[in-house]
Symmetry: D3
Subunit: 132 residues, 6 copies
Amino acid sequence: MYSVNVRDHFMIAHSFRGGEFGPAQNLHGATYVVDATFRRGELDAGGVVVDIGRASEELKAILTALNYRNLDDDPAFAGRNTTTEVLAREIFERLARAIRGGTLGDAARGITSLSVTLRESHVAWGSYEGQI
Amino acid sequence: MYSVNVRDHFMIAHSFRGGEFGPAQNLHGATYVVDATFRRGELDAGGVVVDIGRASEELKAILTALNYRNLDDDPAFAGRNTTTEVLAREIFERLARAIRGGTLGDAARGITSLSVTLRESHVAWGSYEGQI
Amino acid sequence: MYSVNVRDHFMIAHSFRGGEFGPAQNLHGATYVVDATFRRGELDAGGVVVDIGRASEELKAILTALNYRNLDDDPAFAGRNTTTEVLAREIFERLARAIRGGTLGDAARGITSLSVTLRESHVAWGSYEGQI
Amino acid sequence: MYSVNVRDHFMIAHSFRGGEFGPAQNLHGATYVVDATFRRGELDAGGVVVDIGRASEELKAILTALNYRNLDDDPAFAGRNTTTEVLAREIFERLARAIRGGTLGDAARGITSLSVTLRESHVAWGSYEGQI
Amino acid sequence: MYSVNVRDHFMIAHSFRGGEFGPAQNLHGATYVVDATFRRGELDAGGVVVDIGRASEELKAILTALNYRNLDDDPAFAGRNTTTEVLAREIFERLARAIRGGTLGDAARGITSLSVTLRESHVAWGSYEGQI
Amino acid sequence: MYSVNVRDHFMIAHSFRGGEFGPAQNLHGATYVVDATFRRGELDAGGVVVDIGRASEELKAILTALNYRNLDDDPAFAGRNTTTEVLAREIFERLARAIRGGTLGDAARGITSLSVTLRESHVAWGSYEGQI
């Protein structure tokens, strides 16, 4: 199995509902450093998992739509806590759509799985991994 | 599959038995930076894999019991080399017990697998991963 | 010149005033991973720059007062942009007061300079360094 | 499942064929920081996945054969782009041969899988993982 | 003294002249992860050392001019070894010109010193620091 | 001012005397990842601060003499706590002797200052910097 990873980041405000979140129920924020890892069993004709330039641009486009915002006001997350796990899943879905829709190129349709990891500090991260 | 990771560290002395360990047969020591990664297929009602506060506290409690000690004198490891791999397994077992016993909260019982990675330098690490 | 560094982090929401900040004028947020570096010419009697346990606790106390908050509502920053640079200076001043006031122990009064670095992502950081 | 990782690096020149590579069609180069991760279900009698000294030496020997070279001139890669993915696979195959051939010791024959990851910058990496 | 750092990277081929370079006399290559650190005594009116967006763009422009090239063919380095140290100095000079020329904005003329660090692997880096 | 850094590591056991060290008064241990940074105003004829191969070998030789040992038994540290700061100073002195004695080559005598940093975990480090 081959993998390729690209990294970028975004910075948001949000708050969590639920007593188990303690002070994180307050409006606060986070920098998320995002790793998107694309996987497939065989390489394309050029010898790559994915066109890394296109993959980086698509990841940046997805993160730009989230960057510098208060996620409490984003209808995409209405009624949900925007935990690291939930955000990882949402970015996974948006990247998966781009892969299936051909935005990353025809060859990228050979990608069979994807993982998205959000590092929120030097000691904590969350991720979502699934099939494409 | 969702994952969440917390990081902490501990510092111990030990020595290894067996000629293949060369100078590491001498009493020496190590800092282990520990990553505990919790995994499950679906999130709990709050949108998380595990209460990250409780997970961090439990990891710290487990590492505090090992920290600042000479593991050659610890009965838990009698007759065994406390290699990075063996220590990763031991910390895995202690965390797994905490999950199964409810110390990390009832929702944490939804965790299906766990990996424990010990980074011993900038060039080497070992880990153990298993089902819960 | 000897140095010792301790690291911790905090997570806040804020917004910036001034067209040069572009989309960062929106309410957003950041994780800041903070390095506090203490310096002095000679070590104390125990062979250290500072009691690293006390230094870590004081840094944590200072960051806890900022953590999980919207800095736009914090009177300490009224009328100022809470840029990485401004936050580094503010944390420097709070740590400097702790050093001068003896909170880090009598021996810590031998510290002659301090730098505070805030890492806001994998590609950007800011810091403030000054005399004590 | 237990894992052990060793890290080393090599520095090469190369160029890529195919319009999708854009300016990377020019002769350029890269530093690859290589992580080789060995995995097995049970530890050997000494309590390790692999003799980490032998594993490090073998990885170094394999990388030395590639280091400080222009891969465009290396017959091992004739007619292929030496992408990160292709290089990860090649290093995987050379390490797999060493494991199967006994170079890493008899006990190392218990290794069941191996992954090789090449970090080419602070934002991109590629890897290959397979059975032994 | 305040500092702000931005990070980017470039990938080149080159070779060195001089027996002391051993196998690095061969055509090979490197990824350089570049940190540009801007310093000044007082912040500008907006509370920053430099407009971090402009600084990032200027660094990227300077690195793009070097990226994906064989530096042995670059007239800017004719007759010189393009060691990490020499490249750090060259990037310093190009950034210093941009600061003095106003490319980073009028406020950036308050910058008093600059350091440029090139990380060439996980174990080695070089840098140049000077006054503006 | 130019700088070049090389990195290596060593692993030791030790204990500290003094109630302020708390549980670190027990025999325990540490991995120290060591950065040695060499500085000078002008480069040598080949365009480098120091022959990085020789510098790496000398650092390794110095660390090998400390590696896999119990520093409580090392006469070099009799009557002193082997804190991170004290170890940084000792390694500084040994490297400084090598520079002055010509072990790093004649050109290395142009080095004017040196810093030695010991990273003991992901959150703490100590260093010593001085003139050569």
